[in-house]
Amino acid sequence: MTRDMTRSGEPLLRIDDVHVHYGRVIAVNGVDLTVSRGETLGLVGESGSGKSTLAMAILRLITPPGRIVSGRIHLNGVDILSTGGRQLRQLRWTDVSLIPQGSMNSLNPVMRIGDQIQDAIEAHDRRQTKDSLRQRVLSLLDMVRLPARVYGMYPHELSGGMKQRVCIAMAIALGPSLIIADEPTSALDVVVQKTVAETLLKVKEELNSSMILVGHDMALQAQLVDRIAVMYAGNIVEVAPVAELFSNPVHAYTRHLIASVPSITERKPLVVKEFQRPDLTTARPKPELREVSPGHLVALDDEHSDRRTSGEASEREEVIPRG
């Protein structure tokens, strides 16, 4: 296994200065990020912040007009961006797998569930009988607490939560060292969301995989991840362990995100602020990250940040005019 060959000090995933453009839009503007073994990293931001684009770049799944302009992505010591063809295909799913956004169509509507999981396994590991393959799929379904009859069913016969479990089963089929979960529960109802999220964490722990959880729901992130990276307009503006980030957010945007999460534990007043997002089509400097406390990095030279660590709003933030 490639996993064992890498040096122990090296993080599992290291992203260096990655730039992704969509036509004229600079979607990811020079991101550096690492993920350690066994870690769950939350990647948060609003739509258009570039979080999904970055996640897709790790899988090399950026499609035209998008393209990865520059940067390096090392996974298990292999530079993903310099691979291609068969090598890239081999790397996908064995080393890094994807749990797509839980929308209704992440499964092929005309293939049975069993076949869809099997073809992921077969594409990488052909040395097995039909029967053992079937057993393998059934045990995967069992791991995500799906009944065995799902094996022979079609996607349209399953509920949203069950489909998402199928996607989880598929993602862990080859025991990848990294799982990328792109808003895996955002299309689900909260009760189902909770059970699916728990299943996700459980299997991840059993496999000792790392995970990147892309999302916009700060409350969900607070419950699921070890460390959070906040993206804003194509850049990471703050990274910190989850407890540190919530108790001591530094960047104005992070503070705003946390302040505006509705909670059922306290009725707090609404915080109304509008951030003027920079024009994404013009080149802009990549903010430099500084360490404010161990493991807590903040983009300090960014216009939306200041050095205060209190929860008050910065004066430079724009407040919407009122009539």
Binding site: R24, A27, G48, L280
Partner: protein
């Protein structure tokens, strides 16, 4: 109802530049140009050439075009075996063919709009009746039935011909419009219009119709083209108008006289060229319109 949080990969709020008008589509323009050329032949031709020469025995028999051996400048495109001048045939035949198509197109689109909107917007029983009728009309081999009808109706004119063909041409537009209306019925802005107290007629014509324009245009062109195809088919079987020199009838005569194997290419070739220009022109217009209606089909290498 499921909540789907759309996570757009590309930023949603990029600079809002107004895109180049989708109607300025190359295919659309080339196609329109081709059809215009045929229209011009029909409109301007009679000013320069005597169309009475399209009658039988008005000219010498079996003349080739002027540039071939034996050709004459009196009949620049040659004549056929009963003494009709080919140029005159083309000039009077081309507009007749277009006219049939146009009538069929108009009838079909009007029926299509009425039935399609009723079925799609009102739904229920009306919808099932209209849908069944349209589906049946689409399955029936229309040309076969048309053949039977035409073989009965002897004294046939352009208009009669067009009406007969239109009997089967409305189903396509009806189905297309119904499908579009059905998908639009639950759209946000249609609900919004109802909330603003708009009447059903207002919703159909002011809210839905403008957004359906490219589809309607495509359906119209499709029906026109289908109408011409059916009419030319009937004419080529000898079932068209007898008194008007249509392109199809010219082909019928040419086939009956084995013109192809006799090497008289101008006899069947000229009407064929005109028809090909018409069909390809309409085809380009309709694919162009498809691209207008469905931007995803546009701009693919």
């Amino acid at each position: 109802m499921t909540l789907t949080v759309q996570q757009t990969v590309a930023p949603a709020e990029t600079t809002p530049r107004r895109p180049r008008s989708p109607w300025r589509n190359t295919k659309l323009m080339v196609g329109t140009l081709m059809v215009l050329v045929i229209v011009l032949i029909g409109v301007l031709g009679p000013l320069f050439w005597d169309t009475r020469l399209s009658a039988a025995a008005s000219s010498p028999l079996n003349l080739p075009p002027f540039w071939e051996a034996g050709g004459s400048s009196d009949h620049p495109l040659g004549t056929e075996n009963s003494g009709r001048d080919m140029l005159a045939l083309v000039i009077s035949g081309a507009p007749a063919t277009l006219r049939i198509g146009l009538i069929v197109g108009v009838i079909s689109i009007v029926i299509g709009i009425v039935l399609g909107f009723s079925a799609g917007y009102l739904g229920g029983r009306i919808d099932s009746v209209i849908r069944t009728l349209a589906d049946t009309a689409l399955t029936i081999p229309a040309l076969a039935i048309l053949i039977v009808i035409s073989s009965y109706v002897r004294e046939i004119g352009i208009a009669t011909m067009a009406f007969i063909v239109a009997l089967f041409a409305w189903a396509g537009p009806t189905r297309l419009i119904r499908a579009q209306v059905l998908s639009m019925r639950e759209l946000g802005y249609v609900r919004m219009a109802r909330l603003s107290g708009a009447s059903t007629v207002d919703i159909m014509f002011k809210e839905m119709m403008p957004n359906l324009l490219p589809y309607l245009a495509a359906a119209f062109v499709g029906a026109t083209s289908g109408g011409i195809l059916a009419a030319v088919g009937l004419e080529s079987l000898g079932l068209g108008p007898q008194r008007i020199p249509t392109l199809g009838m010219t082909i019928y005569n040419a086939l009956q006289s084995s013109a192809i194997l006799r090497g008289m290419w101008w006899w069947w070739g000229l009407p064929t060229v005109i028809l090909v220009v018409i069909f390809v022109g309409l085809f380009l217009i309709s694919t162009g319109l498809d691209e207008v209606a469905n931007p995803r089909l546009r701009g693919r290498r």
